[in-house]
């Protein structure tokens, strides 16, 4: 197990290249929180249950390596605002070696 590199553009448009551990059972929302790339209280509001869309991201590259969207994530995005074709919920993207090099942009809140 090792760390992977992920590129995340924050809501102010600043691109961060960060390393995320693959052995801590983390998801992308938690990584964004851990690095404080979005203001506390505006990300992962529901705690990661795919119930609030505050961790919505646009996948810029590496979408092909992500696991397919589950029903709950799909339904939540069906109700969320600011969605695009490449929208995903950060809390449903698990940090594994397969997603090395993923690049995302954090969507506006709420």
């Amino acid at each position: 197990m090792s760390d992977i590199t992920v590129k995340i553009k924050d809501r102010e448009g600043v691109l961060h290249e960060i390393s995320a551990p693959t052995d801590m059972s983390m998801n992308l929302m938690e990584v964004i929180r851990a690095y404080e790339l979005a203001e506390e209280g505006t990300i992962g509001v529901c705690g990661g249950m795919a119930m609030c869309a505050s961790c919505q991201v646009y996948v810029v590259s590496g979408a092909e390596n992500l696991t397919e969207m589950g029903d709950e994530e799909d339904a939540m995005l069906g109700e969320a605002f600011h969605t695009r074709d490449n929208s995903r919920l950060g809390c449903q993207i698990h940090i594994t070696e397969d997603i090395e090099g993923l690049e995302v942009e954090i969507a506006p809140y709420p």
């Binding site: 506390e40 209280g41 509001v45 249950m49 505050s54 029903d71 339904a75 069906g78 605002f81 709420p110």
Partner: protein, 351 residues
């Protein structure tokens, strides 16, 4: 005016459990919450989901935990101001605080516990609709407060979750016409609700439009018509009301302006002692507070509530020293005259 000892803002698990710990110290409580039911996030966001880290419960559904807490605090007769948001906090004198809600309800208490969780749940508004604010209260509603308001009117509901389904079902018997609009063909709700909507659609009682989105609101003073894009085609629909039900989102809201020290959307407290804020007599407990090492867990909220109550007791009973008592030993004396106590052991000789 509502007068109490300890005013609790927020009816989530931490706020509810506070009533119990306060009750043991003979402190009376009253709770304010913006939602119509107690339970906070647990009731609003995930009532049917299990929680695995409540001590003593290998697994308990969030809704069940709320029911249990309500049962546990019953004998301490807490008052509730529900569906109202606390908007102002004022210190009246050395002893009393005053909290007023958005509906003007005045509360006075000797201490205030802010157990507001993530903040006040506010409806997520479809802000992309240009003249949305113009029609708010003039045809655009975010809650169904009084169903009679919609009697024999034309209603359009938008959303894909339980509340959109449930209100469509309910209003189909009240309104003259109910149209349910959703961006997807799939709805996320209880199976029973989805099936009911299907049946009502087949009977022609609900006009279902999917995949569709509302694009424009029209009307002179009151809403008269909306433009909808259905399957890529634009069409108009005459309506009296538009009810967007896109869920709720928590906001810190007015309490951010109460002079409390705020850091990262949370209230800073003294965790070395009693979770008091920078305003003496005002405490913050549960998810809404922050201190070094803070964890937003229900069980931590329970602990914080317990320590805080000791501080409130000292504040209300200057100079009196409280001696810790165990409920197993002392029992629980309710304000309603009830008493719970451990059964006495039988002391009897065996021949």
């Amino acid at each position: 005016m509502i007068i109490t000892d300890l005013l609790i803002i927020g009816a989530g698990p931490t706020g509810l459990f506070t009533v119990f710990e306060a009750g043991l110290l003979k402190i009376k409580c009253h709770i304010i919450d913006a939602l119509p039911q107690p339970g906070g996030q647990l009731a609003e966001l995930y009532p049917k989901k299990p929680i695995f880290d409540i001590p003593g419960y290998p697994a308990i559904n969030a809704g069940e935990l709320v029911d249990n807490l309500m049962d546990q605090i019953k004998q301490f007769q807490p008052g509730f101001t529900l569906s109202e948001t606390a908007v102002s906090l004022r210190k009246i004198d050395d002893d009393w605080f005053e909290v007023i809600t958005n509906k003007g309800t005045v509360h006075r208490a000797r201490a205030v516990a802010i157990a507001g969780g993530l903040g006040t749940f506010e409806p997520r508004k479809p802000d992309h609709l240009e003249n949305l604010s113009q029609f708010e209260e003039n045809g655009v509603e975010y809650f169904v407060k009084d169903p009679e308001h919609f009697r024999d009117k034309k209603v359009v509901i938008a959303g894909g979750g339980d509340s959109a389904l449930d209100w469509s079902i309910f209003l189909s018997n009240v309104a003259s016409e109910v149209t349910l609009i959703h961006r997807r063909n799939e709805f996320r709700g209880a199976l029973d609700s989805v099936e009911k909507v299907q049946a009502l659609k087949d009977q022609g009682k609900i006009n279902l439009m999917t995949p569709a989105e509302v694009r424009e609101l029209k009307g002179t003073n009151h809403l008269e018509e909306i433009t909808i894009e259905v399957n890529g085609e634009t069409q108009s629909l005459a309506t009296d009301f538009f009810i967007p039900l896109f869920g709720l989102t928590p906001k810190l809201g007015e309490l951010a302006n109460w002079g409390l020290e705020i850091e990262k959307n949370a209230i800073k407290v003294n965790n070395a002692l009693d979770y008091q804020t920078n305003i003496e007599g005002v405490y913050a407990i549960g998810d809404i507070n922050t201190y070094p090492g803070k964890l937003k867990l229900i069980l931590c909220g329970f602990h914080e509530a317990t320590l805080m109550c000791q501080s409130v007791y000292s504040r209300m009973n200057l100079g009196k020293k409280y001696v810790l008592k165990y409920t197993t030993v002392s029992g629980v004396d309710g304000f309603d005259g009830s008493r719970k106590e451990a059964e006495k052991a039988v002391v009897k000789k065996i021949d």
